[in-house]
């Protein structure tokens, strides 16, 4: 197993980091979060069109870069670090892998090259807190009819393409692509995380053409769960990146703030807490890269690893965000300083794609009752 980055991986990360350091400044993030509903359109254009973010994990056969989970992780870590207000996670980590793993050859050659070129912002119509299929599909004379409601969809307000996993009467699943203006009812949902917009979707007898269906002949729950693994990994990467960004700004603050005639960074109580955060970050990040390498090769315990990763990533972001406010003192409690944006993200992401309690319960079932014991 090789967990050191290649030259290419390093330069990809550095390039993304450079762009986001320049373009996703605190001021830009605040502008998007406070005035534009958590979406920074110009940053997206730059990331998608100029830097080719969206090509990362599109196979080469469809004009993508054909890179794996490690690169996906590096990219989303950087987005998390700067709280970049772009739908990178929904588009690249969740949407694209669904099409790559579940789509027919025809659908792939139709959609993937355009996705790679950055032409779509994708939202996936699965309830974000519990990604179970909530929409029903029925065949009609000239296509399909979709019914159902999905109460919480990440990045829906900025999406230009909505992917809808839906269930047929016989229990099989299908994947549909619809445009937001295709007769969907879209409601807005305001959450405490100002850097990621959410929306609610309602399908009331929405008619779509036969070509809206992306898969060949239906797929199982299990196949959908597999296709969502990069999304789970990507979410953890974003959380870990956010934790790093939050720790960085905290370290900067405490090394400038003076009390009792010395910087507060010189107090051992504070040094130790920062060092402990470093260890927690190293733990979560190592598991991120290990799981990414294993996702690439489809190793046997990958679901357990990704569940474990979800637990560690949510924990570390929470811990760092909470400590950040504390170590900033009074100013940490003001709107003006940035820690609260990370604190918001920590709580809002803690229940995305399921909760830590559910993840631990699944791991326990394997470790205690299953083969991994």
């Amino acid at each position: 197993m090789d967990l050191n980055f290649s030259e290419d991986q390093r330069s990809l990360r550095d390039e993304v980091r450079r762009l986001l350091n320049d373009q996703a400044s605190s001021a830009a993030m605040r502008e998007a979060a406070e005035k534009n509903g958590g979406f920074d359109a110009s940053l997206w254009d730059m990331a998608a069109a100029e830097l080719g973010f969206c090509a990362t994990n599109v196979p080469e056969a469809f004009d993508g870069l054909g890179l794996g989970a490690m690169e996906l992780a590096l990219l989303l870590e950087e987005c998390g670090r700067r709280l970049a207000c772009i739908p990178a996670w929904s588009t690249i980590a969740v949407g694209t892998p669904l099409i790559v793993s579940l789509g027919s050859e025809g659908a792939k050659s139709r959609l993937l090259p355009e996705i790679a070129a950055g032409s779509y912002r994708i939202a996936v119509a699965l309830p974000i807190d519990n990604p179970q299929v909530a929409v029903r599909a029925q065949q009609s004379a000239d296509g399909y009819v979709l019914d159902g409601a999905v109460s919480l969809v990440a990045d829906l307000p900025s999406a230009t393409l909505v992917l809808v996993p839906a269930r047929f009467e016989d229990g099989k699943l299908g994947l549909f692509a619809v445009a937001p203006d295709d007769g969907l009812k879209i409601g807005s949902v305001q959450t405490i995380d100002l850097t990621r917009p959410f929306g609610a979707l309602k399908f009331e007898g929405v008619r779509v053409g036969a070509d809206a269906r992306l898969d060949d002949a239906g797929f199982s729950e299990e196949a959908l769960a597999q296709a969502l693994l990069p999304g789970r990994l990507g979410l953890a990467a974003e959380q870990i990146g956010a934790a790093q960004g939050c720790l960085d700004l905290t370290l900067e603050y405490i090394s400038g703030r003076v009390q009792f005639g010395r910087t507060i960074a010189s107090f051992q109580a504070i040094k130790h807490r920062c060092a402990a955060m470093v260890v927690d970050l190293a733990e979560a990040r190592s598991l991120l890269y290990g799981a990414a390498a294993n996702l690439n090769i489809g190793a046997s315990e990958i679901e357990m690893e990704i569940d474990a990763l979800g637990v560690l990533a949510a924990d570390v972001l929470w811990k760092v965000a909470e400590e950040s406010i504390q170590l900033h003192g009074g100013v940490g409690n003001t709107w003006e300083y940035d820690p609260h944006f990370y604190f918001r993200k920590a709580q809002a992401t803690a229940f995305m794609m399921g909760s830590s309690d559910e993840r631990l319960a699944r791991i326990a079932a394997q470790v205690i009752d299953g083969a991994a014991a």
Binding site: M1, D2, L3, N4, F5, L251, S255, R262, T263, A265, S266, Q268, K271, H272, C274, A275, A276, V278, V279, A282, E283, A284, R285, S286, L287, Y289, G290, M304, E305, D307, A308, L309, V311, L312, D357, R359, L360, A361, I363, A364, V367, I368, D369, A372, A373
Partner: protein
């Protein structure tokens, strides 16, 4: 054959050797002699070291010019894993193989290498580490043990006390950090000496530990001698050599250690299944969390062995000791909680006794080799560049 295939072939070879040799009279050594049980069956474990040596499995990572296999990092990891998987006993030769050998290879004279490396490689001579003193623990630079040059013989004459010296009572030699320049303070004026433990000026007193056993000792020096050719480096270089030696401590053996952790977790799960603790949701969550931490630890170790040199990777490496020792200490408590009251009753059930010993010994994990607090200081100061702790006067 690809690298992966040959590694798997090598794995089979180690496993086969262990299966063939850790049997018969050695069978009772399985899973014995590890931390908390470190003074178990010493005579048989000495013989086991020679058995390993005969199979050329001692010092397998040392270069071939010293008569060893010169295994790659990946092969050493495989060896450690298979050794642990087979239940290989705690290594009496660990300090010689892991610390003294690499230090002599880096700093020793040709004579010193000729004199000491074969004894370690052949499983004949065992070593103890003489750093800590009553007034010099975390503050290692404060050592007071004195080394004085005897102008007649050229020997160094040593007076003072070392403490917490693991396995000194089972060892033949000790390396000693002592003050050779009168009036020097801190890391200056120190000397690194190699000394036979069986000599008139040395007394070894075992110290009883919280778990009841006695793996460490006080070692008293009263005019004990180190001959002139037993100084490593120059007099005055002691600190540099002592620190380099410590850097060997975080090595390959960590992956073998993790296999031991995996076995301990499996034992706890097994008991939880038997006694019904596995029905308790809080226990289930803790077992799952332990699994997650162990998996992360594995990848931390792999990343650190791969030796990336960016600032971020260096920082991660500094966190490794703090991570594994605290994970293991938590496991010590989890094992007891899974057993419930049954765990506090002393009986001779082997698995339960093992978990009880682990409960006690894991308290030491966050003390030796740099305490938790010292690890956090190092991460903050060296890793994050935060201000250094002020030193007190005197």
């Amino acid at each position: 054959m690809s690298a992966v295939q040959s590694l798997e072939e090598f794995r089979r070879q180690v496993a086969a050797w262990m299966a063939e040799h850790l049997t018969g009279r050695f069978a009772e050594l399985k899973h014995r002699g590890h931390a908390g049980d470190g003074d178990a069956l010493p005579d048989l474990r000495r013989e086991w070291e020679q058995e390993l040596a005969a199979g050329r499995w001692t010092c397998p990572g040392w270069p071939q010019e010293y008569g060893c296999r010169g295994l790659s990092v990946a092969e050493q990891v495989v060896f450690q894993e298979e050794y642990a998987r087979a239940g290989g006993p705690g290594r009496l030769g660990h300090i010689g193989e892991g610390l003294v050998g690499p230090t002599l290879i880096a700093f020793g004279t040709e004579e010193q290498k000729k004199r000491f490396l074969p004894g370690i490689r052949e499983g004949r001579e065992f070593w103890a580490q003489g750093y800590s003193e009553p007034d010099a623990g975390s503050d290692l630079g404060n050592i007071k043990t004195r080394a004085r040059l005897d102008p007649e013989t050229g020997d160094w004459i040593v007076t003072g006390q070392k403490v917490w010296t693991s396995l000194a009572h089972l060892s033949d030699w000790i390396f000693v950090l002592a003050r050779c320049e009168e009036g020097s303070v801190g890391p200056k004026g120190l000397i690194f000496l190699l000394m036979p433990l069986k000599q008139p000026g040395i007394e070894i007193h075992p110290i009883r530990q919280i778990g009841g056993g006695a793996e460490f000792n006080s070692v008293f020096f009263d005019g004990a001698r180190a001959s002139a050719d037993c100084v490593v480096g120059q007099p005055g270089d002691g600190w540099k050599i002592a620190m380099t030696l410590l850097s060997f401590e975080r090595g390959i053996s960590t992956l073998g250690q993790q296999l031991g952790f995996t076995q301990e977790l499996a034992t706890i799960v097994e008991i939880a299944r038997e006694n019904g603790a596995a029905q308790n949701p809080a226990i289930r969550a803790r077992l799952a969390r332990a699994w997650a931490g162990l998996r992360a630890m594995r990848y931390m170790a792999i990343r650190s062995l791969e030796g990336g040199t960016s600032a971020e990777e260096e920082l991660e490496r500094l966190g490794y000791k703090y991570h594994w020792s605290n994970w293991h200490r938590d496991l010590g408590k989890l094992g007891m909680d899974v057993m419930g009251f049954d765990g506090v009753i002393i009986n001779d059930d082997h698995r339960r006794e093992q978990l009880r010993q682990m409960f006690f010994f894991t308290r030491s994990d966050t003390v030796y080799g740099g305490t938790n607090e010292i690890q956090l200081n190092i991460i903050a100061e060296r890793g994050l560049g935060m201000p250094k702790e002020p030193r007190g006067k005197a």
